[in-house]
């Protein structure tokens, strides 16, 4: 997995609540057997019209935000399905960090597995960053994972929380499966015990 240490990039504002996974990546793009190449389909139905032309109003189509690396959004971001195509598309587009007052559970987990940092902040802080993000190409934020801070264009700093284990994995680009297989012994003893206690499973 790619490491995530420090990120300085343009933040795109998406002041909507309940941005769901069908919006992030509509199902017609789930028919791939690969993880890559989904960025062109990110937010497809909001980004392109029926003929495949860009809808100029959509935030990621505006010149200032075409290279956004950070997304600032409303409550309950990523609700809906478990499709990991959603974070794959976000990452493939070039976005490495999403900031919102709350996230849906599965999406939140999926981000960490793909080197994306989802940050939960109180509504006031999100409102302030949304304001910053609306300043177009001046909307540059710096996310420092080690120190758990976000610095805005005017130099102000906001601290954020992140689970210690997940932070460690992101900072070091650690692969979960490799980490778990180090505990193969514990899994095996669990299986032996469970086979006695619940042999019907």
């Amino acid at each position: 997995m790619d490491k995530f240490e420090k990120l300085t990039g343009v933040a795109a504002p998406m002041p909507m609540i309940n941005v769901d996974t069908d919006m992030i990546i509509p199902k017609q793009f789930l028919k791939t057997i690969k993880r890559s190449g989904l960025g062109v389909n990110l937010f497809d139905e909001m980004r392109f019209d029926d003929d495949g032309n860009e809808i100029p109003d959509f935030v990621l189509n505006q010149p200032a935000y075409r290279n956004a690396e950070i997304l600032v959004a409303g409550d309950n971001f990523g609700c809906g399905s478990s499709r990991e195509h959603a974070p794959w598309a976000i990452k493939d587009f070039g976005i490495r960090c999403v900031i919102a007052p709350s996230f849906a559970d599965i999406f939140f987990n999926n981000c960490f597995k793909n080197g994306i940092l989802p940050i939960v902040l109180p509504q006031e802080d999100v409102d302030k960053l949304m304001d910053d993000a609306q300043r177009g190409s001046n909307a540059v934020l710096t996310i420092d994972l080690e120190n758990q801070t976000i610095s805005g264009p005017d130099g102000g700093e906001i601290a954020f929380e992140v689970d210690a284990f997940r932070k460690h994995c992101l900072l070091n680009g650690l692969d979960d499966i490799g980490l778990t297989l180090e505990k193969a012994g514990a899994i095996q003893s669990f299986e032996t015990k469970a086979a006695q206690e619940r042999p019907w499973v």
């Binding site: 002041p15 309940n18 057997i33 139905e45 409303g74 609700c79 974070p87 987990n109 499966i177 469970a194």
Partner: protein, 468 residues
């Protein structure tokens, strides 16, 4: 010992390792796999040269994008990209030696219907699948939830998941339901009450008289939509109905093993003074037949209500409601019972079981669907389909003008050719009314099977109580 909730008990029985900060390796008893969220996981295993850790506990079935029309065993009758995903699953199941139900098998169907039907889902288990509606299996008192593809790969490789424990939430539905009110109305009413993020961070246990009174099918409908309320999982404590349903299923324990299992299953309930982090109580008699009016499952109203106005809401919801109404093409103040429908979809893992088809057939029996209406019934599995044919339900639907399809997810997510056209309005028994969910520009109203059947007959959203 301190009192525990049902969730606490299942969790404790499955922790294979716990780190100091509470990050745990949770052992997984059943892993269900389908064609859309698994190819990248198997590819990952191949690249790392890893086997499937417990192929015996892994069950695969194609459901999400398969056509529901005859002749689908022949891949040339599928769209090219669907055929590739199904072929990948065929191959992965074979190469890695996992249980498999191909489209040609009568037991094929939606993964969350096949699991319980075949007895793979049992009380007290941990069950995961790369699909958010895995919560369905919670109806058996199993801890069941959706996972992403990286986690699918993790479970395939290690039979565990890295998890932190969620909080406990109790949703109690007291008393009796009114006539015409179903499990679907309960689960939608709960989401209407808590919002789509109300359950985030929690595992819900549904309890109370109205839940106890539900059949296993109804309980599955309720748990199915726990995820729509944001919860990681929904659970119902197992009881005699559960044991009765499980007994004799192909993969359920038999003989002495059955007795041993039963003894443990009977300990699976929340202790009287267990701690709840959040409690929501609804009175069964207050729940009406409901429909959704917007593009979020929390946009729920009784069928007797009017389309709301954005001003009825606060905060971010004002703008969201305006956007929903625009997308749905609805005017505030219009009675919901006057909203005209052009498509009806009866099926999905929420409402594609035999009881759902019976409820719908009872409404359409001897009637015709409204002229110009497209209506389809997609049974949740080949076995549900066969049973419905045997009971004469299929003929009732066909005589009324419904299409009678083969099993699959179909128009629940419209990954196969069953899709809405832009602007088409659908009464659907599925679980998501997101923008574009059933086809780009399509408009979805979620409701119960009986209400969907009523809409097919009248051509409008209809109060089922006016029809019976």
């Amino acid at each position: 010992m301190s009192p525990k909730t049902l969730y606490d008990k299942i969790w404790d029985a499955h922790v294979a390792h716990e780190a100091e900060d509470g990050t745990s390796l949770l052992y997984i008893d059943r892993h269900l796999v389908h064609e859309v969220t698994s190819p990248q996981a198997f590819e990952g295993l191949r690249m790392a040269g890893r086997p499937v850790h417990a192929p015996d506990k892994t069950i695969a079935v194609p459901d999400h994008n398969v056509p529901t029309t005859p002749g689908r065993e022949d891949p040339s009758n599928m769209t090219a990209d669907s055929a590739i995903q199904v072929a990948a699953l065929d191959k992965n199941a074979k190469d890695f030696g996992i249980h498999y139900y191909p489209v040609s098998d009568v037991r094929q169907g939606i993964v969350h219907i096949v699991g319980p039907e075949q007895g793979w889902t049992l009380p007290g288990m941990t069950v995961v699948c790369g699909d958010s509606h895995t919560a369905t299996h919670g109806a058996f008192g199993a801890l069941a939830h959706g996972i992403g593809t990286s986690e699918v790969e993790h479970v395939l490789a290690t039979q565990t998941l890295i998890q932190k424990k969620s909080k406990n939430m109790k949703v109690e539905i007291t008393g009796k339901l009114q006539p015409g009110v179903t499990a679907k109305d309960i689960t939608l009413a709960v989401i209407g009450e808590t919002g789509t993020a109300g359950g985030t961070g929690y595992v819900i246990e549904y309890c109370g008289e109205a839940i106890r009174d539900l059949s296993m099918e109804g309980r599955m409908t309720v748990c199915n939509m726990a995820i729509e309320g944001g919860a990681r999982a929904g659970l119902i404590a197992p009881d005699e109905k559960t044991f009765e349903y499980v007994k004799g299923r192909p993969h359920a324990p038999k003989g002495a093993q059955w007795e041993a299992a039963l003894a443990w299953w009977k300990t699976l309930y929340s202790d009287d003074d267990a701690h709840w982090d959040k409690v929501v109580t609804l009175k069964g008699e207050d729940i009406a037949p409901v429909v959704t009016w917007g593009t979020s499952p929390e946009d729920v109203l009784p069928i007797t209500a009017n389309v709301p106005s954005p001003e009825d809401f606060e905060g971010g919801k004002v703008e969201a409601a305006a956007r929903s109404l625009e997308y749905m093409g609805l005017k505030p103040g219009t009675p919901l019972s006057e909203v005209e429908i052009d498509t009806v979809f009866i099926g999905s893992c929420t409402n594609g079981r035999i009881e759902d088809l019976r409820a719908a057939a009872e409404i359409v029996k001897g009637k015709k669907i409204k002229e110009g209406m497209r209506a389809m019934v997609v049974p949740g599995s080949g076995l549900v389909r066969a049973q419905a044919e045997e009971e004469g339900l299929a003929d009732i639907f066909k005589d009324a003008g419904f299409e009678w399809r083969l099993a699959g997810c179909s128009m629940c997510l419209a990954m196969n050719p069953d899709q809405l056209q832009p602007g088409e309005r659908c009464a659907s028994t599925s679980n998501r009314n997101f923008e574009g969910r059933q086809g780009r520009g399509g408009r979805t109203h979620l409701l119960s099977p009986a209400m969907a059947a009523a809409a097919a007959v009248t051509g409008k959203l209809t109060d089922i109580r006016d029809l019976t």
